[in-house]
Amino acid sequence: MKQKILDITDLKREFVMGDQTVRALKGITFDIKSGEFVTIMGSSGSGKTTLLNILGCLDKPSGGSYLLDGVDVKSLNRDELAGLRNTKIGFVFQAYNLLPRTSALENVELPLFYNKTITAEERKERAIKSLESVKLAERFDHTPSQLSGGQQQRVAIARALVNHPVMILADEATGNLDTRTSYEIMALMQELNAEGKTIVFVTHEPDIAAFSTRTIMLRDGKIQKDSINQNQRSAKEALASLPETDDY
């Protein structure tokens, strides 16, 4: 039995807008074990973003419980949540969110600046290792404007990996990329997953979901379907099958 990274029970989130209460999540229960590659899907308004915010410890549930790596998120204050985000979660965003005019290496180092236990040498060493794992080691001194979209997203993934998180949380990480580059990113994700990383990937594209091992479908604040992906597609093969001249 593999360790549970995420353990969510009857998770609810309500927003009060004036005199109305919007129930974005209406009681969700699932868990994610170490080494899984889960995609969370749903159309807009399904509560996908709300769930992502809670999973990423950016927001707290209004009901139910959320245990991340054994820690009850609900009981934490703002600063403790920040600490949890720093050590347990690696974020990858749709818009990359790299610091402009800052080298790739320093962008990757960034999370470690907020971790007091890490020395400057260790920080650099880990950042380089992290960049190597996304195959960008030779580009460490390039600024985001000198990198392509796919490369920028790989820097962002390196940044997510640098803190050795228990989970990588990607929010539409391929949303800004063309098909080929998306597949490249997914190939990288699959590789990381094969190395044992737990990945939670929020997307609305079904062909991206096909690369994962499990898909959770949200609808109207509830889980519509939670299925194990029997025939996981290999992103590498998908990449190879794309026509050579296929440039958009």
Partner: protein
């Protein structure tokens, strides 16, 4: 996050917007430079007034007659004849350690004549101590002695203005006889010129003679216009004042209910009176400079607000990867302080150099007090913290979810 890293981040953020950072600093630079230059000029003029006054004898104590309103009528000081030689004796009897010089002053104006030349001037009858008290120096010749005082000797010392007017041919006045109000005086010495006093008085238009001679042969009075004394040091002048007051009150037989019929003034009072005028000037100049520093601070606040808004996504990202509110607060606060302190350093350099430039070009006395540099530096840092705090607080209170999705 360590201070060093915060500094690096702040430095990089400023480097990204060099021109903007410089323009923001400009307010602080001008403010600090103005504070330092203004204070240097103000302090310089204060110092020069002070040193001129000290030249007059900073330990000098003057005792002047004063009306104690006998019968309710106030009289002008000079028409009062309460100071007598016995007051001098009374003060001498104290044998105070605080007093090292004492001289009566009897003066009168009149025409001095030498051959075909004449000159309206003032003769001042004093004891030999007078020269030390007033810090007058002999240029040539000798000083009259106590013995000369005792025998009403008709000898005198001349100031430069008198010499110039009575001996326009440049001949040596020593040994010559001049006449003052028809009394012949032998010139036995000349005084080193002192120039004009702060009040525009010619301090060299003076004839100094023994007071007994002046009293007996010219004025035919037995009262004194004033008494000059000198304290052993500036610090002991207060004690000396008290002792002198006591001695004169006793010799005038004043009951405790009666007010003084004389007044004792120290030079320190005069110095402080005049310095206060120039202090006011310094305060005024500094206040103006302070206002410009304040406006510079508002400039920082303004630009920090813009910066926070501009970098909302960056703040959101930093928070999502583990920055606490405190980290974000410190980041922006240090950026503001870095702007103000860098501006402060440039301002200090500019202020000091412009003060020197002013003193070089206009020949104004300047005095750069270390305190003015330290103060403006501290004020700068405080300005940075004060005006940087609110924008930084705003940044640290951002909700990471909103900040990440901010467009």
């Amino acid at each position: 996050m360590s201070i060093l890293n915060l500094l690096r981040i702040a430095f990089r953020a400023l480097k990204r917007n060099k021109l903007r950072a410089f323009l923001t600093m400009l307010g602080i630079i001008i403010g600090v430079a103005a504070v330092i230059a203004m204070m240097a000029i103000g302090e310089g003029s204060k110092q020069s007034i002070r040193s001129q006054l000290s030249g007059m004898g900073s330990n000098m104590i003057t005792i002047m007659p004063q009306s104690n309103e006998p019968g309710g009528v106030r009289l002008q000081g000079s028409s009062i004849q309460t100071l007598k030689l016995q007051d001098i004796t009374a003060i001498k009897k104290l044998q105070s350690k605080n007093i090292n010089g004492l001289s009566p002053v009897v003066s009168t104006s009149g025409q001095a004549i030498k051959g075909g030349y004449n000159w309206p001037t003032t003769i001042t009858g004093v004891s030999p101590d007078y020269l030390n008290i007033r810090q007058l120096k002999l240029q040539d010749g000798i000083l009259f002695s106590e013995n000369d005082v005792k025998r009403f000797a008709k000898v005198c010392l001349l100031g430069k203005t008198v010499i110039d007017n009575l001996f326009p041919d440049g001949s040596n006045p020593i040994g010559q006889i001049i006449r003052f109000k028809n009394i012949p005086f032998q010139v036995i010495g000349t005084l080193v010129p002192k120039g004009q006093s702060n009040f525009g008085q010619d301090q060299d238009d003076i004839i100094v003679a023994p007071y007994t001679t002046v009293q007996k042969r010219i004025t035919a009075t037995n009262y004194l216009q004033s008494i000059y004394a000198s304290a052993t040091s500036e610090a002991s002048s207060d004690a000396a004042t008290t002792e002198i007051s006591g001695a004169i009150r006793e010799s005038h037989r004043l009951t405790p209910a009666e007010t003084d019929d004389f007044q004792v003034r120290t030079q320190a009072e005069l110095i402080s009176t005049i310095s206060s005028t120039s202090s006011m000037l310094t305060v005024l100049l500094t206040a103006i400079a302070g206002i410009s520093l304040f406006i510079g601070g508002i400039g920082i606040m303004n630009i920090m607000y813009v910066s926070v808004t501009e970098r909302t996504r960056e703040i959101g990202l930093r928070m999502s990867i583990g920055a606490r509110g405190q980290d974000v607060l410190m980041q922006f606060l240090i950026e503001a302080v870095l702007i103000s302190i860098t501006g402060g350093v440039i301002g200090v350099v500019l202020g000091v150099s412009s003060a020197y430039l002013i003193s070089y070009l206009l020949n104004w006395p300047i005095l750069i007090a270390e305190s003015s540099i330290v103060i403006s530096f501290v004020v700068c840092a405080i300005t940075g913290v004060f005006f940087g705090y609110y924008p930084a607080k705003k940044a640290s209170n951002l909700d990471p979810i909103d900040a990440l999705r901010y467009e």
